[in-house]
């Protein structure tokens, strides 16, 4: 019984943290928010060089062969620094290939994904919260896919799409295929832009359909981890502000009302760390109830993170509500984490159903 991180896992977090703390300070994220969502190619490139793109790619395909838990630990750090990189969608593409790819699909894509030559993304929802495999309507017939997918991350730069298809399965589409059109959407977290993607008789190959639920579950875990990291950061930002800003001749944190608000934020967020650790571990070990654990983690962590983000704004006073205050960057990150792949309410419907209630 050892519910702790290994030294390797702690080192992984340290390494990612060291890199993004230097290379992706809030000022850099802000440039993206201020500009036209101009990406920072060097940032993702640096992470690729560290092996982050191939973290969960099997060693035989040139990756590090690590688990979802390791990816989630990376996500936590990326959320903590609000790093604007396509880690979620790329990692889920790897998951789709591992869980559902044939050996040809795997040997073609996994090495390219591992070394960063290709960026992967997932095209699942079709609008109106159609995140579940049962909801998908994109048609896959005669080796082509037709349909429109919404809220697709990083679609603009992706080399390969994992597309949810009618019947609840997945298909793989090379981004260079004819019939693929990417349309930008103005979305809330400028650091991680989303797109509408139209597939019009785009050449595709099928993945094993069992992979669909696994991809979604992995996504829920990574979003929970990201959100945890972001919420933890928001609490620290708020504490720092309260320890510095003076009103009525003393720092804000000296007011017990403010102190207790910060403590309540911590009580909301801090105890949720083990929850996504466990969900990731259960996913890796293919435990019974792993999907339910993922839904519990995603719904709970992102709900608590939302509340924390709102409190962080309030505790910062007027400045917290401005564009120039960094709080907005994390507020929006948490918001996107919470809504992507299903709201807490919708996930809880599944939690109830899978709980046998």
């Amino acid at each position: 019984m050892d519910f702790t991180l290994t030294e390797e896992q702690e080192l992984l977090q340290e390494t990612v943290r060291g890199f993004v703390a230097n290379e992706s300070p809030a000022t850099a994220v802000r440039e993206i928010f201020d500009g036209e969502r101009s990406a920072k190619p060097a940032l993702w490139k640096g992470l690729v060089e560290m092996g982050i793109a191939g973290l969960t790619v099997p060693e035989t395909h040139g990756g590090a062969g690590l688990d979802l838990l390791d990816a989630a630990l990376a996500s936590e750090v990326l959320g903590h620094f609000a790093v604007p990189v396509p880690f979620l969608e790329h990692t889920l593409t790897v998951t789709a290939l591992i869980e559902g790819g044939g050996s040809e699909q795997q040997s073609h894509w996994l090495p390219r994904l591992a070394n960063g030559d290709a960026l992967g993304t997932v095209a699942l929802g079709e609008g109106e919260d159609t995140w579940q495999p049962t909801h998908w309507t994109a048609r896959f017939e005669n080796d082509v896919v037709t349909g429109t997918k919404r809220y697709v991350p990083a679609a603009e730069k992706a080399g390969v799409f994992v597309v949810g298809i009618a019947g609840g399965g997945l298909a793989l589409v090379d981004a260079s295929a004819a019939g693929v059109t990417v349309e930008p959407m103005p979305t809330v977290d400028r650091g991680r832009p989303l797109f509408t993607v139209h597939f019009e008789n785009a050449a595709a190959t099928e993945l094993a359909s069992a992979a669909a639920q696994r991809v979604l579950d992995a996504g829920l875990v990574l979003l929970a981890a990201d959100s945890f990291g972001a919420a933890d950061r928001l609490i620290r930002m708020t504490a720092d502000y309260a320890n510095t800003r003076e009103q009525f001749g003393q720092v804000l944190a000296q007011f017990q009302g403010m102190k207790h608000q910060i403590a309540d934020m911590a009580v909301d967020v801090v105890p949720t760390r083990g929850m996504w650790w466990y969900a990731a571990h259960a996913f890796d070990q293919k435990m019974a109830g792993a999907g339910r654990a993922a839904a519990l983690a995603k719904s709970h962590v992102t709900d608590r993170a939302q509340q924390t983000a709102r409190q962080a704004v309030e505790c910062h006073g007027g400045i917290g509500f401005t564009w120039e205050c960094d709080v907005q960057i994390w507020f929006k990150r948490v918001m996107q984490d919470r809504l992507l792949f299903g709201t807490p309410e919708r996930l809880r419907e599944n939690i109830a159903a899978t709980g046998g209630w």
Partner: protein, 404 residues
Amino acid sequence: MDLEFGEKYETLRAQARDFARSSWPLQGDEAKLPEREQGILWKERAIAAGFLHRTVPAAYGGGGLEPDVLAETVIRQELDEAGVPHRGSMQGTHMLVPTLLECGTEEQRQAYIRPTLTGVMRWCQGYSEPGSGSDLASLQSRAVVDGDEWVINGQKIWTTQATEAEMMFGLFRTEPDAPKHGGISYLLLSMDTPGIDPRPLQMMQGGLDFCEVFFNDVRIPAANIVGKRGEGWKVSRSTLKHERMLIGDSTGSRKSFEGLLELARNTPRDGRPAIEDPHIRQRIAELEGYVTAREWAVARIISAVAQNDDMKVMDDMLMAKIASTNVTQMTAKIAIDLLGDLGLEEPSGDAIVMGYGGTDAASWVSQYMTSLSGAIAGGSSNIQRNIIGERLYGLPRDRRPEGH
């Protein structure tokens, strides 16, 4: 208890309705004037007809009537209904004008009130500073006398409409050696004075609702002071009182609630309108409890004020701000859950409207963010909690370092 307005006010209501419908929109050549000038024209006529600024003395351009909150209520309802341009900048009409009536000189009243009422002269408020939020009296922007002028240096923040307004009223430190509250004066500045630099401040939802205003050796006439030197804090209290009253209005809460209902009706959920979901129904019904409570609390306040019985409703008045904030935030949170992935859209950047009830997703996303401002603007919720505890239940004031 009688929720009817009665014959007297229903007659007035009918007159107001007639006036509103016959006076707007403007006709003929007048209809070709720029929008703002049309508004000024209409306001002049509404004042003359006794439907606007009724209680401001006629000598200063108002209606010269006795205060009558019920009359004002029925008139406002009708003007709202008819969509006439009766709402101007509240900063001028609801804050500056009452202050001048209470503390201004005869010259100031003559000079400023009439154009303010008609909208010819628009005002912005220079109170908050970057270092002085809740603790307003710690403000540092300075005005020093040089001959027959004030010379002003410093910075203000959270100034709405600073780029449009012709004038600013504001608080400045004029007696640096006096104790905190005693060293402040209330000054009036023309916004085209050299050295004033208003810069829009972007909000998290993208809108430009506020400005920072920088003062660099701004020189204004020495006569532009309301009240005495060092008494600006006292002068400003009457104004702030009005601001708080303003925020204590329930129309926004109800409008926002209706918007939410509409959203729930129009949002599909598993092929049915979301409003049919029992969980959503519970959340909305619970919210309606808060909205309804607000409405009747406001009705209590209006009725008591009409009877000059303000003291009887002090409890509800002290709650108004924070109760309203809570309703707005609850509404926004339900809305974002209804939107689901539509909530991923970038906010519309709409200006802060406390009781906004939009129909498109981007407006609701904006509202989800702007709803947070209620806990901050016009006195933070924590300050409100202090006031409630201290005034209503006699709880002790916070311990603070000396002089604060």
